[in-house]
Structure formats: C-alpha cells, structure tokens
C-alpha cells in the first residue's frame, strides 16, 4: 500500500469498490446507486404523468398504474433521496470535521450494501409477478388484500435497506461525537455536519418503528399471524401509527441535510458567514425534536377524534416557526453579501420561494378541520412535491454540482448546469403548482384515471407538460456528467474559490487518508479564517506520524447478499413453496456465517508510515 497513486484495470477497480471501506468511495457508490434509482423513479413518474395527461386514458392499466405509483414513491424516498443524501454525508461530513474516516468504516460499507441489495430485491418484484401496489404507505388492509407478491418484496426489501440506513445513522453520530479534529467544538461545526448529526439521530429513533411495522406486515403476509386482520382481533390502525411514527421523521431526515447543503451554498457564494449560526443550529435541533411529535397529522381523517387531531394540528404548526427562522437566516446571509450565480447558488436561490410555497401549504394542511378537505387529494401531492422536490431534490442537484469537484476532482460544466437548472425549475412549477388547484377542485390522489366533465382536463395536461421539462433537464444533466468525465480537467483544493470549511483545504479528490496531519480548527468556517489571515492552508495540530487505516473487506457484500437470498426464501414460504425454508436457511447461513467469520478473524487495519507520507507529498492530490 505504499504507492498511493496506482493505475488499475477495470477488474481491479471493480474489486476495489466491492471491498472498499473508504468513506469517499462509499459516497461514490451511494451516488451511483442513488442516481440510478432516481432515474428509475423518474421514469415511473413519467408513466404516471402520461397516463394522467388526458381523461379516460389507457396508456397503462389500472393495476399496473397502482404498481407504478407505489414504486415511484417508495423508490424516490428510500432508494433515491436517502442514498443521495447519504452520498453527500459520506463524502463531505468526515472532511468537514477533519476526520480520516468515519467511526466504523466496515459498518459504513455494510450499510451501503444492505441498502443496495434491499433496493435490488424490491425492484426484482417487477419481474417476479408484480410490484407492490398499495402505495408507498402500504396501508395494512389493502396490503393484505393485494394478490401478488409485490407487498412481500416491499416489506422485505425495505427491511433490508432500512437496516443499512440505521447503521449509517449510528455511524455518523459516533463519527461526529468522537472524531472531530482538535479545536472543532460542536458550535464550530459546519451547518451540513450539524444537519447530518440531527438527521442521524432521527434515523436512529425513527427507523425501529418501521422495522417493527414491516415485521408485522411480513408475519401477517407470510407467516400467518393476525396483526392487521380485524376478524381475528387485529387492528390496521397499528400499521398507520407505526408507519407514520417513522414516516414523519423521515421527511425531516430528507429535508434537514438539504437545509445543510443550502446553508453551505449560501455562505460560500455570498462570501459571507452564515447569518445567525447558533439560531440555525437551534432551529435544526428543534425541528428534529418536533418531527417526532406530529406523526398523527397524516391521520387526521383516520378518526382519532378531535382531541388528538387538535393537539397534533397545533404541534405541527409549531414546526413552522423554526423553519421560518431558517428561511430568514438564509435571506440575511445573502443580505450585504457578494453573490455569484453559480449553478449550486441558482438552485439555492430558487429553493427559497419554492420551499416557502411547500412550507405554507404545509401549515394549511396542518389545520386539521381544513385538512379533511385537503387530505388524500392532489393538494397534498402538490404540497409534498414542493417540499421534497423544491427542497430535497434541488439540494441534491445543487450538492452534486457543488461537491462534484471534491468527489471527482473535476468541475461539472456550468453552462449545461444552468440549462438543467432552468428547465428543471420551470418544469417543476409547471407540474406541481396547478396540482394545488386540482386537489381543492375535488381530484383525489392515487387515481389511475379521471372522468371528463369534472374540470380536471386542462390542468392535468399542463402538469404533464411540466413533467417533460423536468425529464429533459435530467437528460441534460446526464450529458453534463458524461462530458465532464471524458474531459476530466483537474482542479485544485478550492475550485469555487470561496470555500469556507475544511473540505476545501485539502486536494480534490482528497488522498485516501484525507488529512496528512489533522488540522487545528480556530473557529467556525475554519478554512476561511486561515485564508483571511493570509495563510494558504490549515495549521496542523499534530506532527507528521503514522496513520492507522482500516483494511478493505468483501464481507459486507456477502452479509448483505445472504439477506437478499433469505428474503427470497421468505417469499417462498409465504407462497407455501417447498424451496422456501431451505432458501431462507441458506441465506441466513451466509449472513451469520460471514458475520461469524468477521468476528473471529482479527482485523487490526494497517499503518501508513511517516516516510511514505513524506514521499507522497508531491502526488498527494492525485491519489
């Protein structure tokens, strides 16, 4: 391992990525896999919009439409948005706190592969009898009624990928608590790191209820239990509670990192310190906390009674306050600044009005009595797409442009980036703004077609046209990525010129050990402070010494693969097939066997020696 810059063939590169435990490479894996699922989910969205373009359309059948709408939601939330957010957390957070890796590099890899195999398993349903068709919320009575194996794939696939996400959450928490560089106090952490921290805490406490809910669903569908069967004493409302106790924090799991990315962007491209940093931190923590108190606002029409509805309505409105604080802090970060309109900044600027729209409709649906009208209509569809597309997807696109040079050492083309931005922005508002009206005019969500003479025709057509703008935008972005990768013009440490945090003080991409010497942090925006003092880089906090690094390992892939196999066994048991139990057992044997192997085989990692690091001086940036 002494030669840090090696040329490798395709096979070796593949093996490298299959066995890597390096947070930067895992970030790239998350980016690729999440990006792939984003395209799949986008394709599903296009099917939905084409089907709804005109009344009584028969582009797809009713049953297939339900599969598509279910998979669109499930894919976008679990397999696209979360992994893409995880990609940036992995790529950037350890660099921002001046760490050489995350706390548990092995677990980090395991988390990715669990997510990946879970996602693949879920999508296998398309080829094995039919995808899940009960919506991404998979309400229990409909899910139990569903005739195909789709729901089985949903429950098992999410169980596997959810386990991976939970591991990721714990990993990030420990990393941030234990591995900050000297001087990096909590109140000097960059906003993106703070949002990663709070998000990880949300993951830790929100995913177990989903785990339990999915287990109950698996047991009911495949092993004959009666949790949701009213005739045997079961109760389907339990599923609704468990799902939303997870589901609402999940929304914040997605949006908080988006807030973090935008906080970085506003500061960088306004050349100004984040306005009201401490209140931003406070607001983030408060949003995370309140996020657990409001789940029942998804169930206003379930019939929980006026007391529960009133309490949850008021609690939900309360979240508007910290969110508002954030919006104004961002605006005042730009106020008095020196703004450049780079692609990431364009997304950030467009994010403010778009997200405010989503936020205010959020307050409107929080008003329980009025929500009886909004609930399960296109108004809600418009609301959450304004929040998730206008917030999370904008942030992911912005983050892709912002961090691309840090992850790959080359800049995405700004001209194409701006074309993507404008097409996407126009398409987004065209698609979803009109849906607010469709909702209040009486169009329920999740309908596979609509009848004429209800006044829905024009608006649905407008919405569909908007979707095509977004599709073209994504295609332009793909072209951008390919062109950029072919050109491959290398960039230096701080390609945007105004980097403020530690990740911009090291080469792009960073060497695999990140920091040759851990940096000394003297305040918020550590790198900016040094730059303003006329220094070229960070002051080291330690003398040059040996660096301890973890070994690569193929075991994470094997553990995840074992569960993938076991899940097929579980589906077989549900179908009363003879192969069910043996396959389940084989799968578990693979998983537990490889865990056992990992447990008994000592793994002390290895050391990079001081001498090698010194030799590495001139080529460190190209590792």
């Amino acid at each position: 391992m002494s030669t840090l810059a090696q040329k490798k063939g395709f096979g070796a590169t593949l093996w490298d990525y299959l066995t890597t435990v390096d947070h930067k490479k895992i970030a790239i894996l998350y980016l690729i896999a999440g990006g792939f699922f984003f395209l799949v989910g986008g394709l599903e969205a296009m099917v939905i919009r084409i089907q709804l373009a005109i009344p009584n359309n028969d582009f797809v059948s009713a049953g297939f439409y339900n599969e598509v709408l279910t998979m669109h939601g499930t894919t976008m939330i679990f397999l696209a948005a979360m992994p893409l957010v995880f990609a940036f957390m992995n790529a950037v957070m350890p660099l921002q706190i001046g760490a050489r890796d995350v706390a548990f590099p092995f677990v980090n890899a395991l988390g990715f592969w669990l997510f990946f195999f879970g996602g693949v398993f879920l999508n296998m349903s398309w080829f094995l009898g039919g995808a899940p068709d009960a919506g991404w919320t998979s309400y229990a009575s409909l899910a139990l009624e569903s005739p195909t194996n789709g729901i089985d794939f949903y429950a098992l696939g999410l169980q596997i990928s959810g386990a991976g996400t939970l591991m990721g959450g714990i990993n990030f928490l420990v990393t941030i608590i234990n591995m900050r560089a000297p001087g990096m106090t909590y109140m000097r952490m960059p906003m993106f790191t703070w949002s990663t921290f709070v998000t990880s805490a949300l993951i830790l406490f929100a995913f177990p209820p989903l785990t339990v809910g999915l287990f109950l669903m698996i047991f009911d569908r495949m092993f004959g239990s009666n949790f949701f069967d009213a005739s045997a004493g079961g109760n389907t409302i339990i599923w609704e509670h468990l799902f939303w106790i997870f589901g609402h924090p999940e929304v914040y799991i997605l949006i908080l990192p988006a807030f973090g990315i935008f906080s970085e962007i506003f500061a960088i491209f306004s050349r100004k310190r984040l306005f009201g940093y401490s209140s931003m931190v406070f607001a983030t923590v408060l949003i995370g906390f309140l996020g657990f108190m409001v789940w029942a606002h998804h169930m206003f029409t379930t019939g929980l009674g006026p007391i529960a509805n009133a309490i949850f309505a008021v609690a939900t409105m309360a979240i508007g306050v910290p969110t508002g604080i954030k919006i104004f802090n961002w605006l005042f970060t730009m106020w008095g600044g020196s703004i450049t309109f780079t692609t990431p900044m364009l997304y950030a600027i467009a994010f403010i009005p778009s997200f405010v729209m989503g936020g205010v409709t959020g307050i409107m649906v929080a008003s329980a009595a009025a929500d009886y009208q909004f609930h399960d209509t296109y108004f809600v569809v418009a609301h959450f797409h304004y929040v998730i597309v206008g917030g999370v997807v904008f942030a992911i696109l912005a983050g892709t442009h912002l961090y691309w040079p840090k992850m790959f050492g080359t800049m995405l083309n700004e001209f194409l980036g701006k074309i993507t931005f404008w097409l996407f922005l126009i398409g987004f508002h065209l698609t979803f703004f009109i849906q607010h009206f469709l909702g209040v005019w009486g169009m329920p969500r999740r309908i596979f077609t609509f009848l004429p003479d209800q006044g829905f025709e024009t608006s649905n057509m407008v919405s569909t046209i908007g979707a095509f703008f977004m599709a073209v935008a994504v295609i332009v972005m793909l072209i951008n990525v390919i062109m950029t990768s072919i050109k491959n013009e290398r960039v230096g440490n701080d390609p945007w010129g105004d980097g403020r945090t530690l990740e911009w003080s090291i080469p792009s991409p960073p060497p695999f050990y990140n920091f040759k010497q851990l940096p000394l942090v003297r305040g918020l925006d550590a790198y900016w402070i040094e730059k303003m003092d006329g220094k070229k880089g960070m002051t080291p906090a330690e003398p040059l010494g040996d660096i301890h690094m973890p070994n690569s390992s193929f075991v994470p892939v094997v553990i995840s693969f074992g569960l993938f196999v076991a899940a097929f066994g579980a589906v077989g048991i549900g179908d009363k097939e003879a192969y069910g139990i043996p396959v389940l057992v084989i799968g578990f044997l693979i998983t537990f066997g490889s865990m056992f192997f990992r447990s008994v085989k000592d793994d002390h990692g290895f050391h990079i020696h001081k001498e090698d690091l010194m030799n590495d001086d001139d080529k460190g940036g190209k590792a």
Partner: protein
C-alpha cells in the same frame, strides 16, 4: 436574473388565468361550499391562505431586494456578520402570533365538526330525532343504510337539505374514505371501527349544483379506486319524507312487459344471490355483497360512473372488467347473449320506487 423575473411574471399570469377559470365545478369543488361543514372548512382555507400569502409576500420582497442588490460587483470581501438578536426575535415572534391566529379557529372547528352527541339523544318516544345514515364502503361500491327508517340504497345517497345528517362509517373489505367535496371534508371508513361525523346540505347551493353532488373514495383501495364514485341527491325535507315513505312501502316490483319478465327470470337465476331489489333487506351485512338495486331505474349513473343509458348498462353487464377493473362482479355469471342483455336491461331500468 432577468429570466427569473420573467418567469415569475409568467407564473403570475398562469395563476390569474386559473383563478379566472373559476373555482371548479359546483357539484364537486371544495371552493364552492354547499353546506355548513364545507363552509367552515372553506373559511379556514381562506384564512390560512391569507396569512400564508402575507408570509410569501414578505419573503418575496426581501428575496427580490437581496437578489437584485447584492450581486457580486468587485472582489471585496463583505463584512462577516454573526447575526442579529433583534431580527431573530422578530422573525420568531411574528410567526408564532400568525400561527396562533390560525390555530385557535382550527381547534374550534375541529371540535365542532366532531360533535355527534345528537346521534345518541332520544326523544320521549325513545327514538332519536337526528337522521342517521350507516355508510358501508366496499370494493368499488357504497351502501347507504337508514337504520331508523329501515331502508337501504346502493351507490346513491339521498339526503334532506338544511338539516344535519349524521353518518356511521365503516368498510367491509379494505380501508376506503368517504368524501363529498362540495359538502364537507372526508372521513375514513376503517375495517376495525366505526367513524362518525355529520354533514349539512344547503338547499340554495344544492340547487346551483343541480341537486346532485359527486362523492368519491379518497383512500387508495385497489385498481378501481379511481372509479369508486357515488352520487348524492339533496332534496327538500318534504321530498325526502315522500321518498323515504315510498321506499318503506315499496313491494317487490313486478315486471310489466314480457321482456322485463324475461329479464327478471335471468336476474333471479344469476344475480339475486348478491343484489337485492327491495329497499328493505333483512339479510345481515356480510350477505349483502353487492349494491341494492331497488331504485336502479331512478339512478343518475350506472356503477357510479357510467351514463344512465341502456347502452351503457348493456356494456357494463357484458363486460364489467373493462369499466371497473378488479370489481367483484366479473366472472360471477355466465356470458350474456344479446337478447339476455336486452331483457336484463329492460328489467333493471324498470326498478323504481317513486311512481
């Protein structure tokens, strides 16, 4: 940035066109409230929209100033401001006040809409004065039972105007949701419990809407979720009285033509196991597996969605799967020959109680 401005103008224009285009259909839209419940909800929607437009306006003003004024002109480094306590207090306090303005009527309305105490009150005769309807949602059809009147209808709910109508809601297979947008918000029909609420149908507004409101299922329930519509006839109290009396006294209707007679024979062989043809149906719920057809000839739609014509009825009977995928009627009877279709149609269209 000029383009951003242009685009904002554009969206404003689109918005205006929409608003000019009206508030949707009076028999369907929540923006044309036709009863007390919808009115309360509409008022809340207006109040919240008003507050929110105010918030958007403030944000937009600051936003526009920032984006216009603070573009990078030179290479100077701006002053690094930490924050401002005054500003932070302002934008924490004002939203709290705004939310309180919205929260108080929200809570009041939430309790008001859930007040069904009248359902349990009885007068000196031991009967209740309130009109109660038991709604049972099934895969793609609705049953409306009037327990105090002893009558049942399918697919079309008939209610008196200008008085509170109370509903007991439940589902017999999977979860659905009962929604008459123009008259009031929805409430789920669960498989585990009975939900209760009330609605009120305004007579003037009902007239504007043509006396017939659209009702919908608002919870994904399977392939034909989109087609799980029902219709609501809102009639005056007197008319409702006439109707309910006619329903209570309706005997089994005898066919008047030979063709209808032939239709009845087919019906009694293939359909009667599930469908009842009298408004009084003593069978338990579990046995009532298909809509009651006693008033079929008087309905406004076939299967809740198709035009009420002989042609559409024949199409529906010949191939229900085309019109409602996944429905429970498909495959329960043998293929019908054209003459059988004619006979059945004649018979079904003759089923009326009001003459």
């Amino acid at each position: 940035m000029k383009r951003l401005m242009n685009w904002r103008l554009y969206s404003l224009l689109i918005m205006l066109t929409l608003i000019l285009a009206g508030c949707g259909k009076p028999y369907l839209s929540t923006l044309t409230p036709a009863g007390e419940v919808a009115q309360i909800q509409y008022d809340l929607m207006k109040l919240s929209t008003l507050i929110m437009v105010g918030v958007i306006a403030v944000v937009t003003i600051i936003f526009v100033i920032v984006v216009m004024k603070f573009r990078r002109k030179d290479d100077r480094i701006p002053k690094q401001v930490e924050g401002s306590h005054t500003l932070e207090i302002i934008w924490t306090t004002i939203p709290i006040l705004l939310l309180l303005i919205l929260a108080i009527p929200t809570v009041a309305a939430t309790f008001k809409l859930a007040d069904v105490s009248e359902m349990d009150q009885v007068n000196e005769d031991g009967k209740r004065d309130a009109l109660v309807v038991n709604v049972r949602a099934n895969l793609y059809w609705w049953e409306f039972e009037y327990p105090d009147l002893g009558i049942i209808t399918g697919q079309e709910l008939v209610v008196p105007t200008d008085q509170k109508v109370y509903f007991n809601l439940k589902a017999s297979d999977v979860k659905h949701s009962f929604w008459i947008p123009a008259v009031g918000g929805k409430l789920d029909t669960n498989t585990d419990n009975i939900n209760k609420f009330w609605l009120k149908f305004d007579s003037d507004k009902s007239e504007e809407a043509g006396g017939l409101f659209y009702g919908k299922c608002a919870e994904l329930c399977g392939p034909s979720h989109a087609f799980m519509d029902f219709k609501v006839k809102a009639v005056s109290k007197d008319e409702f009285k006439q109707w309910s009396t006619a329903m209570q006294n309706a005997d089994e209707q005898q066919p008047t033509t030979d063709l209808a007679q032939a239709g009845q024979d087919i019906f009694n062989k293939s359909c009667i196991g599930c469908h009842a043809v009298t408004p009084i149906d003593g069978r338990p719920e579990a046995a009532r597996t298909a809509p009651n057809l006693a008033t079929f000839g008087e309905r406004s739609r076939i299967a809740g969605i198709l035009e009420h014509s002989e042609k559409d009825l024949k199409n529906w009977l010949a191939n229900p799967e085309t019109y409602k995928p996944g429905n429970k009627m498909t495959g329960t009877y043998n293929e019908l020959k054209p003459e059988q279709l004619d006979a059945l149609t004649e018979y079904l269209m003759s089923l009326k109680v009001m003459e």
